[in-house]
Symmetry: C2
Subunit: 479 residues, 2 copies
């Protein structure tokens, strides 16, 4: 948490609706010591805030930190990565021409298993937290590994770095290598309970109200093929007892779907397997959902389960092109996931960009223009949509009174009059700062600048990042 009340001034951009961004110019946002937004005032500068807002809030003027977006900068809600495997981070970009099932055996299981070494786990997990924070990811739904101590370490590190997170110990008791699996459903549940207890003890807030916790446990059956029916049922029971969120994979690629049909012949579909075992709930995050049948999608919508769309991963592993618009039209809540390391990038902005592109492949592959996602829609998925997927609807993802200050300050590069690259040349005092690939010439409208950011932005544009009011990342050279 922040130690002081904070006043943020300038331009704020956030999603108003799926297809609408709102631009709050010359606005003041007040965030109290608990990290909660307590005022959003338009046409308000610092003087006016001191004159009218501080008295109204009962704030002592000299106990307020002031953060101004500079000309051309704007505040944006922090990104929510609804699906990623922290334990696979060292493998990003390494997948060759493999597809899901051989990729798991070739690249993934050996790496995950190796993180039982806590020194290695600390190095990898610290890196993935630092990296995702630097890309503006204020909340992440992580898969760790089967190993309890290293899963708990991931939760510890999220907590100490101040990243909001769901951390799941991976459950799997079949069709996995001997060196990397739970010995039995009972062992799997016991280990999961250990990890839940550890994570609950982390954050004093969580004892009163789990939804207040910065880091929450999440029940994590890897996916149906690697879990026995007994394990799935036991985890469904555990979810019902604890009321905890659940995360798993569904319908990522076709051989996987055929495998599920073969393993669970008594159920009529992949979604039905989860439904029958108590895992298809309104607290469930389903990664991928590329090939759901109409009936499955209806079932998912009916149960209120959420979908994490992972476009980088789905293209990289030749899994398919997820019809996100179709899911949304059915009332399924969707967010974005990087799915490292099936996905190659740590950036939710890259996932947003690829969501635009993949939606065009859906449109070209038999769909139509109605399947396309634009800049507004993918930014909604990256913030408001993601918030709902991880159970934080109304709590993060926008700038509204009562929400928590999970936010990023974005700055775009301005092209000099002569077109030369001053930052690169190190001109100016101490050398220019590197604003990355986004080049603003000055005549662009704000929606055009946002489009430039979505298509060419990277971590160089993410100048500062806050979670619940606490500054958790700052680029070198920012002040």
């Amino acid at each position: 948490m922040a130690s002081k009340n904070q006043l943020f001034l300038g331009l704020f951009v956030h999603s108003k609706a799926l297809d609408e961004l709102e631009y709050l110019h010359n606005t003041a946002v007040c965030v109290d010591k608990s990290g909660t937004i307590v005022a959003v005032e338009s046409e308000c500068d610092e003087a006016r805030a001191r004159e009218t807002l501080f008295p109204r809030l009962g704030w002592e003027p000299n106990e307020v930190d002031v953060v101004c977006a500079r000309e051309g900068q704007f505040f944006f809600p922090g990104f929510i990565d609804t699906h990623l495997h922290a334990s696979q981070y060292p493998n990003v970009g390494i997948f060759g021409n493999s597809t899901l099932l051989d990729w798991l055996n070739t690249y993934t299981f050996p790496m995950e298993a190796s993180l039982a070494n806590l020194a290695k786990a600390r190095r990898v997990y610290t890196r993935v937290i630092r990296k995702t924070l630097s890309h503006g990811t204020t909340c992440a739904a992580y898969y760790a590994t089967v190993d309890v101590p290293s899963t708990n370490l991931l939760a510890d590190l999220c907590f100490s770095h101040g990243q909001r997170a769901l951390v799941g110990r991976v459950c799997m008791d079949q069709l996995s290598p001997d060196y990397y699996r739970d010995a039995s459903p009972r062992d799997s549940v016991a280990a999961t309970e250990q990890s839940i207890a550890h994570i609950r003890a982390l954050d004093p807030d969580s004892h009163m109200d789990m939804s207040r916790a910065l880091v929450r446990p999440v029940i994590t059956p890897r996916f149906a093929p690697s879990c026995s029916a007994e394990l799935l049922r036991s985890l469904g029971d555990l979810a019902a007892e604890t009321n905890l969120p659940i995360q798993t994979h569904i319908s990522e690629n076709k051989p996987e779907i055929e495998l599920v049909a073969k393993l669970f012949p008594e159920h009529e579909s992949y979604a039905a397997v989860y439904d029958a075992t108590g895992l298809l709930t309104d607290r469930t995050i389903l990664a991928h959902a590329v090939h759901l049948t109409e009936k499955e999608a209806d079932l998912v919508a009916q149960r209120g389960a959420k979908v994490s769309h992972c476009p980088c991963s789905n293209s990289a592993l030749t899994s398919g092109a997820c019809p996100v618009r179709w899911l949304l039209a059915k009332g399924v809540v969707c967010g974005l996931g990087t799915d490292m390391s099936g996905g190659y990038s740590p950036s939710v902005l890259e996932a947003a960009r690829q969501a635009v592109l993949v939606s065009r492949h859906v449109a070209m592959g038999g769909g139509g223009d109605g399947d396309k996602l634009g800049v507004e829609e993918v930014l909604y998925l990256a913030t408001r949509g993601g918030a709902e997927v991880v159970g934080l609807r109304g709590k993060v993802g926008g700038f509204e009174v009562g929400m928590e200050w999970d936010a990023q300050l974005i700055g775009l590069g301005m092209v000099a009059d002569d077109g030369e690259d001053r930052a690169q040349q190190g001109e100016g005092q101490g050398g220019g700062e590197d604003d990355g690939d986004v080049d603003v010439f000055g005549w662009e409208s704000w929606p055009e600048r946002i489009a430039k950011w979505v298509f060419n932005g990277d971590d160089r544009n993410t100048k500062k990042v806050w979670v619940r009011g606490r500054l958790v990342h700052q680029r070198k050279g920012e002040w």
Copy 2:
């Protein structure tokens, strides 16, 4: 050109064949004052080079500049961008949900026309040259605009910045806005000849042997729909007289193909229109070629025309997914193009990454695993393939004696033992350097490091760039 002979030492990586990268460890490459590679020696350090290579080459030891790749760095051939519109650069990322024909009228023609203002053109063209150089693009096939003075300015700027380039004045005399078109075929050809004369006069080398010129003119009918049959024929004649390269677009999206069929009913296909007018030659660069029929692809192969594959653009504008493997199997030479601003990115590395992903959509959309392109293939297209597309086969694109030194020095980020981000924290003298998103843990093989670079690399990894031996870009803080 470089003023001294140069010795490059370390690891060199280049394409040996379409599916094979060669790793030349502990190697010395000697580049003479003309920028030509005169020796490639394995198992050779500086002492050995001084002892054996310098005497053999007749080099004075104190007249040699030495450049060493540091541990973990490597030299890679410069990228060749076989298709981009310098004049559309300010619009990158701005395309909404448009497709080709409405995109041209909404975004593209107004921007191109506005560059008749030379001050604006200088700013935009300087920026695009600086930007593409910073991404390792040592050679670019540029479209400028209809306007002669600003087209000539682009050529001047490429020459002064030292970027190898083909620069084309855009020809279009129909189906274009009144404010932006040639008044007649005759005017179009006359203006093109003016621009050719200007560009030829730029480089003294070009009078002896045009293929030696750093900046070359290229005959540039925009595409069949915006050119009358008479203009196409005249430009075909001009190409035959001058022996100059040609660049145009073909079969980018379906409405465009239907339009060509309507406008040129006497020809049986889009490719046949170019063939009948003398524009389908072995010096022709065809951008896109997404929807060629089998017969057209055979014709293109027979004529030896080349294809510029532009995956970012084709996905962004919902144009289609180009079956590159199928074209290659037919014997069509292919390279990569950023196609800014149909494509959103200035980076050929991004085009390579998207070529991998788009090939997977080809595979999923009815093709098969044989349609997939891997890391090796897309890097081949970005270097050797591109060189052949722009008429520089055997001259650039690899590290071989007799080739010119168009190269980039690549450095990847190394993860510290504790996983923290030292560069970000500005530790060490003067603050660490920002190596971008690629994180090498140390256990990765070289092919794995190259894959990490392809999927997460950006301009931060491109430390230095040379064209014909001249250092044309260097990242701040590099030494």
